[in-house]
Symmetry: C2
Subunit: 444 residues, 2 copies
């Protein structure tokens, strides 16, 4: 009964949060949403502040003193992805709507449900949790957290804790709780090459140099056809997975293959991998993705133009102990060494990889609690395939271990970042229970 009350409270809070169009990419309603979030934390007994870094929206910080000696830092974000394309939503994205046991709204899954859940759970604990709770809720996660490193460096003392619970994960379809203990880094760059003052008639292609072909050639000096990255020294700092990490990969729920097949219609994976090797690559293989390439004509019919300029968008996913700054230098050196000095390289985004060791005591407790509650082994992801830029600053500047624990009401089909984003109300209970028990366990 108490749990049902907490679930109802979580739904009410979630609806309030989801009515705010806090789209960080468009600078929409960020200050108002920060005020709402700060008010909710204050009402829950938190001492609060808004932390501001020049050029960014406010982040909400709060502290709720606990009865035990330990401290947990919670991380969330109050911003959301743009709702486009609007015409694909069955109900308006900022009018939260419940139907068929689901709550639909932009931000419902990513990640306002978790803010609501954590607030409701703390309320259920009577406002006096067994550990001290610190909470940082930023407003730029969906645009890559560009000011988070600076925010952390300027507020180290406010963020100290025994460990951090990032945005949460959930329970897998087989009932196993999922934990993510690390994230890949990223270096996103744009390559630009201009060789002419304007597009030329393609009849001159026998003698006039082509920026389009040159940039294609430049790309092939960065990555081999077989898929290996050929930037000199790129793999040098990559550390091998430990036996423990490989064991964790082996013991994961074998869902990744099917999830990717269903999500993207994949027929054949790279190098024909599957299962354990596929999951190992998702956690431990650095990548060089070609996110975009644009040059010349792209319309209907034919236009025989020789393009004056060409641009490519690349993102490298990095693993320990690679660093985006070093990779940038190596990419520049590789282009220069192969005669592509004229290709300009502009950094678009950068984040360090970061992992919490599997035997970290904070992580081990969080995992043990979930396994006991669920009666099943946890599925542990040593590193996500993607990047959460807040992880490395908290590890580097505050020394925090961290992880994504199943204290969130999300599931694979939640349509985060897509139209008709939603949560299943049935997922609220397990997430709430896990969070309450986790706090008690950490406080004991």
């Amino acid at each position: 009964m108490e749990s049902e009350a907490a679930e109802r409270e979580a739904v009410g809070l979630l609806e309030r949060l989801c009515r705010r169009p806090s789209v960080s990419a468009e600078g929409g309603a960020l200050a108002e949403t920060a005020d709402l979030v700060e008010g909710l934390l204050r009402a829950a007994g938190f001492e609060t502040r808004q932390l501001v870094v020049d050029g960014g929206p406010p982040a909400v910080w709060g502290e709720l003193r606990g009865t035990g000696g330990r401290t947990v830092l919670l991380y969330n974000h109050y911003d959301v992805q743009p709702p486009d394309p609007l015409e694909l939503w069955e109900t308006p994205p900022f009018e939260p709507t419940i139907r068929d046991g689901r709550l639909y709204a932009r931000g419902a899954a990513d990640n306002k449900a978790q803010i609501a859940l954590r607030l409701a759970a703390l309320h259920a604990l009577g406002g006096s949790p067994p550990v001290t709770i610190r909470w940082i809720i930023e407003g730029e996660e969906e645009v890559g957290s560009p000011h988070f490193d600076e925010l952390v460096r300027g507020n180290v003392e406010l963020l100290r804790a025994d460990g951090c619970l990032w945005e949460g994960s959930g329970f897998l379809p087989d009932g196993r709780p999922e934990f993510v203990l690390g994230v890949k880094g990223v270096l996103a760059v744009r390559l630009d090459l201009g060789l002419l003052s304007g597009d030329a008639h393609s009849g001159s292609a026998a003698v006039v140099p082509s920026a389009a072909w040159r940039l294609v050639e430049a790309l092939t000096c960065l990555k081999e056809p077989a898929g290996r990255i050929s930037v000199a020294g790129f793999y040098g700092p990559v550390r091998e997975p430990t036996p423990g990490e490989l064991a964790a990969i082996a013991e994961q729920s074998p869902t990744a293959d099917d999830q990717l097949r269903e999500a993207y219609g994949v027929r054949d994976f790279v190098d024909g991998v599957s299962g354990e090797e596929l999951r190992r690559r998702l956690s431990f293989e650095p990548t060089c993705n070609l996110a975009g390439f644009h040059t010349g004509y792209g319309g209907p019919g034919v236009k025989t133009v020789l393009p004056a300029r060409a641009s490519a968008w690349l993102d490298f996913r990095l693993v320990p102990d690679q660093h985006p700054g070093e990779v940038l230098d190596r990419v520049r050196a590789q282009l220069d060494a192969h005669g592509f000095g004229a290709v300009e390289v502009t950094t678009l985004a950068s984040a360090e990889p970061a992992m919490t060791p599997l035997d970290d005591p904070f992580a081990a407790r969080a995992i043990a609690v979930a396994e006991r509650l669920a009666g099943k082994r946890a599925s542990i992801v040593p590193s996500a395939a993607g990047t959460l830029p807040i992880v490395a600053p908290l590890q580097q500047h505050v020394g925090l271990p961290g992880l994504s624990a199943p204290d969130n009401a999300v599931y694979g089909g939640c349509s985060a970042h897509a139209p008709n984003e939603h949560i299943r109300l049935e997922d609220l209970g397990p997430a709430l229970r896990y969070f309450e028990v986790l706090l008690k366990e950490l406080g004991s």
Copy 2:
């Protein structure tokens, strides 16, 4: 005096023609302009017809019986390029305006001035030329003459002649008359590759296949970094230039380098070529131009997407004895042989290369007349770097030799296809004189 009257008549006719917005790409005013052109030919004493092929605008055909036994076929087109971008025109594109000795209008240089010039010259000859004149004026040149081959095949008897004068060229800055005796062929294709049902998050790049990278790789199996085309058998049918053709290249006015540098801001030509070798390549080197490549993200900032699809636009310029159909088969085979069977190839445009031998009697007479009139050696281009799709059908189906002679008031700076297209009025006289003398010489 007589010549001045003919020049005035040509300007008046040109203004009438340029007021028609006969933009074939937009289907604008084509039938009306065909009617106008037919009326002008009829007024000049021609027997006329409109030749129609399903799906295309009418072509105007006319015949003016001459006193001699020979027949010349004239080719022109009444359609023009779109006038965009409109804001760059100093006066409206379809309101012909004379200032500083130039007549500005879309189509003035390409190629309504030549229709006006030829009409005025025939009028000056008293409506009874020394050779029989046949004239074909089509309305689709600026969109690649897609119906011209069919039109020629259906009207072979109407087009028989001793030779064809294509759209004309002009006199070079050094006063030498320029002749073009051939054109390259073309095969334009689009390559499409789709590997996923939708764009993926780039975090999955370690295992999810990338259409963007695969298409980059496919392109590199078609052309080597050094510039050679690597499609198996591509160069097989290429015939070597004859000693006469190489001599013609060597004796050309050495203007190509500077024209390309000025037009496109070229710093270094392909392989560092210049002068004679640069001109040889423009006439005799087949090419594989990357006219466009589009995949994934191309906006500001960063979007870490793994593109589901990628497309590339290629045009091959072909030389004798290559054929676009064979090249298409070879491209398909090359992609298949290198594991790129999933890349779809769609033909966008196709034209055969065609050349008139330097020692062709019709061409030799046309050249000799110009050299005598100008008192200078002609600059002879054995083949243009570009494609004029009407040349091969006239050669193949009617057996016509042909060339582009300096009976046109165009010069290098005329801005054909660009804003502020114009002719210099001072160029009308030499073009008119040359055409009159040429007709007399051919009739003698």
